[in-house]
């Protein structure tokens, strides 16, 4: 043993001694080697105490060497990269790694809250429900904050995650989960057959237990054989090897979720590289070779640092050349535990004793393995001692006599559990197998998933290799591949003999302290007994009452021993007791990995209007409208608020001319022999009577009779229409049209496509809009009917048609108006959008044209009483919005039948009207509720609410639109607009919603 690393063996192991890596744990500097995990490096440095427990702040050490670890949870990284609750046993060591222990204050060695442990009689099963019940008000203010501070694991950095995560999809013939002997052999068979294979393994080194045991496969050291197989798999070219990848869930249709730790083993992640990658693997067949997991035995003080699973002690010694203790005692109930003693002795370490719960006859054949190490049969460990780490082990020998031996490591083997979790993700139930005293996969495993090796209860290496070969052959035959003949290499084929023991019951008067089942959630055998006494007989109830198995490790080491304890209490067998349900994920997956690139702005990328760059040059202030980023107003020098800018934009537009990019409106091109008939069935009003070259305002209902959306319908040809939708409903209306056509009326000859992104569209509004357009639209005919004549006679209100602009650019012109002014909408191909906007501004310069944003657009539509989203709120009918005349009596349309329901035509309904303050200097707010004058502002007196409100620069006072009961009959009546949120109570007069030019003379001018 070297002096530098007193626990590190001088030779052996799968570590690269030529590459020393330095790291820190709780501020202290240590060194490890390439190939270490954080846990193995800590073991090699003699660090025993690595964390404090969740509830009692008990000192805890490393229990396992794999992903089932309940104790050794640490924070990795610093600052925004701090990652809490990481299992030290799965962290690949890298240069500069910074790790910290969790749940301790002020330090790991001296934890003030360890006082909780003294109060443990009060913190047992169900303590939340019992202790903190009265008075009720204390829960939120006193109990919960105290508990939250005391309990818990690691803490989040509270900063935004600086790393990138990504998602990927893979398709394959065969997915092999786990690269132990069964998995490697299965992958090899499939690879040689030419199948597309994905081999996923959570470790950074393929091999599974082959890397951890002193044995040979095909006359090679087992790890060497594994490396050789991996080399061959790589060379075939049809195998994707995903190392550091945990398959965490099984989903429908042969879909598997997997998390690849792409760069978690680097201190600095290369630019543009993801930290983790979430795989969606679609596999025709899968072989689960997830192996086994050793289980602990419950006895007094079995949570003391230094008490470790026997297989983990063996893994640290064999794979990492690290000794968990200077003097080790082995406590086992099965043959497998003896291997630990054998391997430690072979490594030159001291084995204090082998304690087997079984009789001398049963272990006689094993004795030669451990040389002259003392062996105690029918032995049961009752307690341990040592304040922050194990110092001595007390057990009862075959004669019932208490013996105490000193040791700093106790290697425990309670037998092995097949890792069946993934077989249960589709609600399969594992079944109890007496031979191995463990649960094996049942017959209801997910479709297409076969289970091989230890995961299926086959614990010998030879058995795993055989089953991997056979099941791969079976899967390949199913898929029509010719399975090659692949020999099964020689390997150990030792029988697995176990005489299960779950809990060493404390002998009377020799109580060894609490016996832990769930280390992470601090659940003891006594807690399970209390739950039983209090009537929690179902495993699911016991789980929730004691919280056993509900920590981040999901009880991987705890569940089966707890079931056994419970079975004993109820007098039932373990098989009858059953298991709780395993659900994905198998190990924790960061939310960031599920989000992938869809985080931050990537969650909802902006859509930009074609003139966005131009607007940016003008210093526009932008606002999100659905996914779109649209100019809200265009500030000018000397303007101090958005109101200054918006008021100016409105006044300039109404006085002369303004322009606005309205490309975000949904545009759907509808064509076909039956296009007109189809639109008749969609819209409340008739579109088939629309003349070519004309536009009509259209209203569509949902089938339940409420208004869905509005827009314009332009007839570009006999069989060709262009319909527009509101910005936010564009996708929804497209889906609706597709639904109505394909589901209701597939016999109609009609085709449609969204062209929202294909066209840039500009609203040019105001008395001078025609003059601006006359400068842009090309004159003269070319025999194609495009006269370019924009006079009122040639191109009246609601006309539309093709034109060319700026010397030949094809365009469409619509004489429609949202502002209430003489107005046009000009549409060109999206790529002309930017230059079109610049050309419009140039042409309008002599008329002092202004660009206007969404605020001005909104003010002008309120002044005209046009409903938008706040009025089309999903609860209003056409009649509510004053649009009853738009529902044709002569034909059916979607929603018409239901729009005539009693409740929909109730005269008491709230309808859309206008509101103006009685005192003209008052402001109005959207969201205010209407209450009768002199009445109390309570729900019972609520008559409706203000849906939109603004200051009207055209009128010089505030105006609003709102829904109020029987509004049409109440013009001139005064009510109050009460806004309790903003503390306003304004007397308003009900009026027509058309505040400006109610006869529409301007837009027809």
């Amino acid at each position: 043993m070297s002096a530098r690393f007193p626990h590190r063996l001088v030779k052996g192991g799968l570590i690269d001694r030529s590459e020393t890596l330095s790291f820190s744990f709780d501020g202290a500097r240590y060194q490890g080697f390439r190939g270490d995990t954080l846990a193995s490096a800590l073991v090699a440095n003699g660090v025993k105490l690595v964390g404090r427990s969740f509830k009692y702040h008990r000192p805890r050490g490393i229990l396992t060497a794999g992903s089932e670890e309940p104790n050794a949870l640490v924070e990795i990284g610093q600052g925004a990269r701090r990652d809490p609750n990481t299992r030290a046993t799965t962290v690949e060591l890298y240069e500069g790694l910074v790790a910290k222990s969790q749940n301790r204050f002020p330090s790991l060695a001296f934890d003030l809250q360890a006082v909780n442990d003294l109060f443990s009689p009060f913190l047992g099963a169900g303590f939340y429900y019992k202790t903190f019940m009265w008075p009720a008000a204390f829960w939120e203010k006193v109990y919960e904050p105290v508990i939250r501070r005391a309990a818990g694991l690691g803490s989040l950095s509270g900063k935004a995650d600086p790393d990138a995560y990504e998602k990927a999809t893979a398709h394959c013939d065969l997915l092999v989960i786990g690269a132990g002997p069964a998995g490697l052999q299965a992958a090899l068979v499939a690879a040689r057959a030419g199948a597309r294979v994905v081999l996923a393994d959570e470790d950074f080194r393929a091999g599974g237990r082959l890397n951890c045991e002193r044995m040979e496969v095909a006359t090679l050291p087992a790890a060497e054989w594994a490396a050789k197989v991996v080399d061959e798999l790589r060379e075939t070219g049809n195998v994707r090897i995903l190392s550091r990848t945990t398959v965490f869930g099984v989903y429908d249709g042969g879909t598997y979720g997997a998390l690849e730790h792409v760069n978690d083993h680097h201190a600095v992640i290369p630019d543009h590289a993801p930290r983790q990658r979430l795989w969606r693997i679609v596999a025709k067949r899968a072989i689960l070779a997830s192996g086994g997991s050793e289980r602990p035995i419950a006895f007094g003080g079995n949570d003391r640092p230094g008490v470790m699973l026997a297989s983990a002690v063996r893994t640290y010694a064999n794979r990492f050349a690290a000794l968990a203790g200077q003097s080790t005692i082995v406590f086992t109930c099965n043959d497998n535990g003896w291997l630990t003693a054998r391997d430690l002795i072979a490594a030159g370490a001291e084995v204090g004793a082998v304690l087997d719960t079984r009789g001398a006859d049963e272990v006689a054949h094993l004795r030669e393995m451990v040389g002259d190490a003392p062996v105690f049969t029918r032995a049961r460990v009752t307690s341990t001692s040592g304040r922050k780490g194990l110092k001595a082990v007390t057990f009862l020998n075959a004669n019932g006599k208490q013996v105490t031996l000193s040791a700093d490591c106790l290697a425990v083997s309670g037998g092995w559990n097949p890792v069946v979790n993934l077989t249960c993700h589709r609600r399969g139930s594992p079944v109890w197998n007496d031979r191995i005293a463990g649960f094996v996969p049942g017959s209801d495993t997910p479709k297409g998933l076969l289970v091989a090796g230890a995961a299926n209860g086959i614990f010998s290496t030879h058995g795993a290799l055989v089953q991997g070969t056979e099941l791969a052959g079976e899967a390949l035959a199913d898929l029509g591949f010719k399975a090659p003949s692949v020999g099964v290499p020689d390997a150990e084929d030792a029988p697995y003999a176990i005489s299960p023991i779950w809990h060493v019951a404390e002998p009377k008067g020799k109580g060894g302290g609490r016996a832990w089942l769930d280390f992470q959630n601090d659940v003891t055998v006594k807690d399970v007994e209390i739950a039983h006494q209090e009537g929690f007989r179902s495993v699911e109830h016991m789980k929730r009452y004691t919280t056993l198995g509900m920590a981040t490790d999901q009880g991987k080491t705890a569940n089966v021993p707890a079931l056994a304890v419970m079975a004993k209490l109820t007098g039932r067998s373990i098989a009858e007791t059953g298991t709780t349900i395993f659900r994905p994920p198998y190990t924790p997956v960061a939310i960031a990995a599920f989000a992938g690139r869809n985080a931050g702005k990537g969650f909802a990328p902006y859509r930009l209007t074609p003139s966005h760059d131009w607007s940016k040059e003008q210093g526009a202030v932008f606002v999100e409208a659905g996914l779109w980023l649209r100019p809200q107003w265009y500030p000018r020098a000397g303007e101090h608020s958005w109101r200054d800018s918006a008021d100016r934009e409105v006044i300039s537009t109404r006085r002369s001319v303004g322009v606005s990019d309205v490309s975000s409106l949904g545009k759907i091109d509808v064509q076909g022999d039956d296009a007109a008939e189809f639109l008749d069935r969609i819209y409340t009003n008739t579109m088939s009577t629309l003349a070519v070259g004309r536009v009509r305002y259209g209203l569509m209902l949902r089938e339940d009779g409420h208004v869905m959306d509005d827009g314009t319908v332009a007839r570009l040809g006999e069989k060709h229409f262009l319909v527009t939708t509101t910005t936010v409903n564009a996708g929804h209306v497209m889906a609706h049209l597709d639904y109505c056509h394909q589901v209701h009326w597939p016999e109609l000859d009609v085709s449609m496509v969204s062209v929202t992104d294909q066209f840039a569209q500009f609203a040019i509004a105001g008395p001078n809009s025609r003059k601006v357009l006359e400068k842009l639209v090309d004159k003269g005919t070319k025999g194609d009917g495009r006269s370019g004549d924009l006079s009122n006679e040639a191109f009246p209100f609601m006309a539309c048609g093709p034109v060319t602009v700026c010397g030949g650019v094809p365009a469409r012109l619509y004489r429609i108006s949202f502002s209430g002014e003489l107005a046009y909408e000009l549409s060109v191909g999206a790529r002309y959008g930017d230059s079109m906007m610049r050309a419009i501004m140039e042409a309008g310069r002599e008329f002092d044209i202004v660009p206007y944003g969404l605020e001005a657009l909104n003010v002008m539509r309120i002044e005209k009483g046009h409903p938008v989203g706040s009025e089309l709120n999903g609860q209003t009918s056409a009649a509510d919005l004053g649009l009853a005349r738009m529902v044709s009596a002569k034909k059916d349309c979607i929603g018409k039948a239901m729009a005539n329901r009693t409740g929909m035509i109730d005269p008491e309904r709230q309808v859309l009207v206008g509101f103006k303050p009685v005192a003209h200097d008052e402001e109005l707010t959207a969201g205010a509720h209407f209450i009768g004058i002199g009445r109390e502002a309570v729900t019972a007196n609520d008559e409706g609410h203000m849906t939109s409100a603004c200051y009207s620069p055209s009128l010089g006072y505030a105006i609003g639109l709102g829904l109020i009961r029987r509004g049409n009959e109440r013009h001139g009546e005064k009510v109050r607009a009460v806004d309790l949120v903003r503390g306003r109570d304004v007397e308003v007069e009900i009026c027509s919603p058309h505040f400006i030019d109610p006869q529409g003379e301007r837009l027809r001018g």
Binding site: G253, Y739, Q742
Partner: protein
């Protein structure tokens, strides 16, 4: 979950939008009792535990509405046809309409 789009082949369910029951048929608005029929069509749905026909929209693909036969207990998918073919088959005659969708 994977859905077999009749036009695009088997695709991940993330490409589709779920709508619901595909067994309801829009009533004839001119027929007697249309009001009650529309009430049922809009509001009333069976919630079978087992095989069910559902409308899915391949919005992230070919924009087809499809009728998927799915087992609501197991998520097993037996097959799918385009909604258009499904509707046309139904209007072509009662017997044909009840045919199982093809994968």
């Amino acid at each position: 979950m994977r859905l077999p789009c009749p036009l695009c082949g088997e695709r991940d369910s993330g490409e589709f939008v779920y709508r619901g029951d595909a067994t309801v048929v829009r009533p004839d608005p001119g027929a007697p009792g249309a009001r009650g029929a529309f009430h049922e069509f809009v509001h009333l749905r069976d919630n079978p535990a087992g095989w069910h026909k559902e409308h899915w929209y391949h919005e992230g693909g070919c924009r087809s509405w499809i009728v998927v036969e799915r087992n609501t207990l197991t998520h097993e998918v037996r097959g799918a046809v385009t909604a258009a073919a499904h509707t046309l088959a139904r209007s072509a005659g009662g017997a044909k309409a009840e045919q199982e969708p093809e994968a």
